[in-house]
């Protein structure tokens, strides 16, 4: 019953976010600040993780090719497919649920605990629009860092494959180009945009409606990470069935 009530509250929150907009001059600076915090601030960790995960995918694929009849270009092919279809959009989003999601929940939750949200509401400010809308707009830039994660992941696979002696550069590049379906990239970006909305709104929901003190802010951040991850995984399944099934 509580879950249903929470889903209802979440839907009402999303509706409220788009009501009574804050002055554009103020909103513009809030959006730029959020882009810096949520997008630019996440670039480093995503590049780092993408590079090494790409490398691991390439090595594991190569180590599992035991038969002579399986072509060596499969290393590049498998790396490309894994990175573009799943790793970059989904795995990165789970990481972002931890990094960005807990930041959003704890920052909004702290504002709730210290009555800063009450202060906004008393002034007549639509606190949800002021706090959540800039995050949603900033997260529209999320596909750009996922595109970078795709490039870096594949590059990591190439480095590990070629310099680790698992594949030649020519074989790897041949695998990358083999049966390339551009819709897979479109599918990946559609997922990314949906996940971006989830990453901005679910942690905001947990922060905005939290009750209690500092301890509860920590609990809310953990709950927010769990639920953001769960929703991303469920939506990943549904979108894959709808778009590729």
């Amino acid at each position: 019953m509580n879950y249903i009530a929470s889903i209802g509250s979440y839907a009402i929150m999303v509706k409220e976010v788009f009501k009574k907009p804050t002055k554009w001059g103020i909103m513009k600076s809030l959006i730029l600040k959020e882009i810096d915090e949520l997008i630019y601030g996440s670039l480093g960790i995503l590049i780092f993780i993408s590079f090494f995960i790409g490398g691991v995918v390439a090595i594991q694929t190569a180590l599992n090719i035991t038969s002579e009849i399986i072509p060596k270009y499969l290393v590049g092919f498998a790396t490309r497919q894994s990175i573009i279809l799943e790793f970059a959009p989904t795995f990165c989003s789970i990481i972002m649920a931890g990094k960005v999601g807990s930041y959003i929940t704890s920052s909004i939750g702290t504002m709730r605990v210290t009555e800063q949200i009450d202060a906004l509401e008393v002034m007549g400010v639509n606190a949800l629009n002021y706090l959540v809308f800039p995050k949603i707009i900033a997260m529209l830039f999320y596909p750009f860092i996922i595109a970078i994660a795709m490039y870096v992941g594949i590059f990591g696979g190439w480095v590990a494959g070629v310099f680790g002696g698992f594949s030649t550069s020519a074989d790897f590049v041949e695998g990358l180009q083999l049966d390339f379906n551009t819709f897979h990239v479109t599918y990946s970006f559609i997922k990314t945009l949906v996940f971006a909305f989830i990453l901005a709104t679910i942690p905001s929901f947990h922060g905005f409606y939290m009750k209690g003190g500092a301890l509860e802010v920590g609990k809310a951040a953990t709950t927010s990470f769990v639920w953001t991850s769960v929703v991303i995984i469920i939506l990943n399944y549904i979108l894959t069935q709808l778009l590729l099934g």
């Binding site: 103020i26 210290t114 007549g124």
Partner: protein, 255 residues
């Protein structure tokens, strides 16, 4: 003037406010006092429109809050200033940014007009050199002053303060009390202060209501509170040894 008529507020099974009726006059410092858990904070949040009472009405200079449209309620809120217990300053903004915030949100003033207004109210609350400091870099007393400056920057008709003295030393607490009273009289504001600080009651309690278990138990002034025979009030007011002695001296003097 704020008129409260028979308001009730519950949270689940807990009936917190049980039919409070009172009036807060313009140009006076109106105090709500009572023990922790008596419903003071819920009452002030109802006055602010943050909680909606299940029964009863609250009217602001004749305008009944619950009968106003959403936009009218928001406009009315812009006429309210609030000083929160923990100051509730925006951490990411400087002192100046905090005070300028309502002006940026709701007025079309030029940058220089806003700056003049910010400088004026910060000077009014005796904060001169803290413009570019962040809330974490200033003392609790200074934070309270910034919160007062932010609350009055839009020239509010109604000023609400939730335990403005909590966490302050007695000297700073008196300074904050006096500042609130001066501002109330200077700008002819309807000020409602939520407090359990007896110094505030004695210093600035022009009109006091005493809450007990969500009921208005007593109403009067800081002069009348000395003379009352209401047991709940005397138990609350004279709970400290100091005030017991003050009352004893008062009775001896009267006899």
């Amino acid at each position: 003037m704020i008129e409260v008529d028979n308001i009730h507020k519950s949270f689940g099974d807990a009936h917190v406010l049980k039919g409070i009726t009172t009036r807060f006059d313009k140009g006076k410092t109106n105090l709500i006092i009572g023990q922790s858990g008596s419903g003071k904070t819920v009452f002030i949040k109802c006055l602010l429109g943050l909680f909606t009472p299940e029964e009863g009405t609250i009217s602001y200079d004749g305008k009944i809050y619950s009968e106003l449209s959403g936009s009218e309620q928001r406009n009315l809120r812009q006429e309210m200033g609030m000083v929160f217990q923990g100051s509730a300053l925006f951490d990411s903004m400087t002192v100046e940014g905090n005070v300028r915030f309502p002006l940026e949100m709701f007025t079309k003033q030029s940058v220089s007009e806003m700056q003049d207004r910010v400088d004026f109210v910060l000077k009014r609350v005796n904060l001169i050199d803290a413009h570019h400091k962040y809330p974490s870099e200033i003392s609790g007393g200074m934070q309270k002053r910034v919160a007062i400056a932010r609350a009055i920057v839009m020239n509010p008709k109604y000023l609400f303060c939730d335990e403005p003295n909590s966490g302050l030393d007695p000297k700073t607490a008196i300074l904050i009390d006096n500042l609130i009273q001066e501002i109330t009289q200077e700008y002819n504001i309807t000020t409602v202060i939520n407090s359990h600080d007896m110094n505030s009651v004695m210093e600035i309690g022009e009109q006091i209501i005493f809450l007990k278990n969500g009921i208005k138990e007593w109403e009067g002034t800081n002069k009348e509170i000395f003379k009352t025979d209401n047991k709940a009030v005397t138990n609350f007011v004279y709970s400290s040894e100091l005030f017991k002695k003050v009352r004893q001296m008062y009775i001896e003097e009267r006899n």
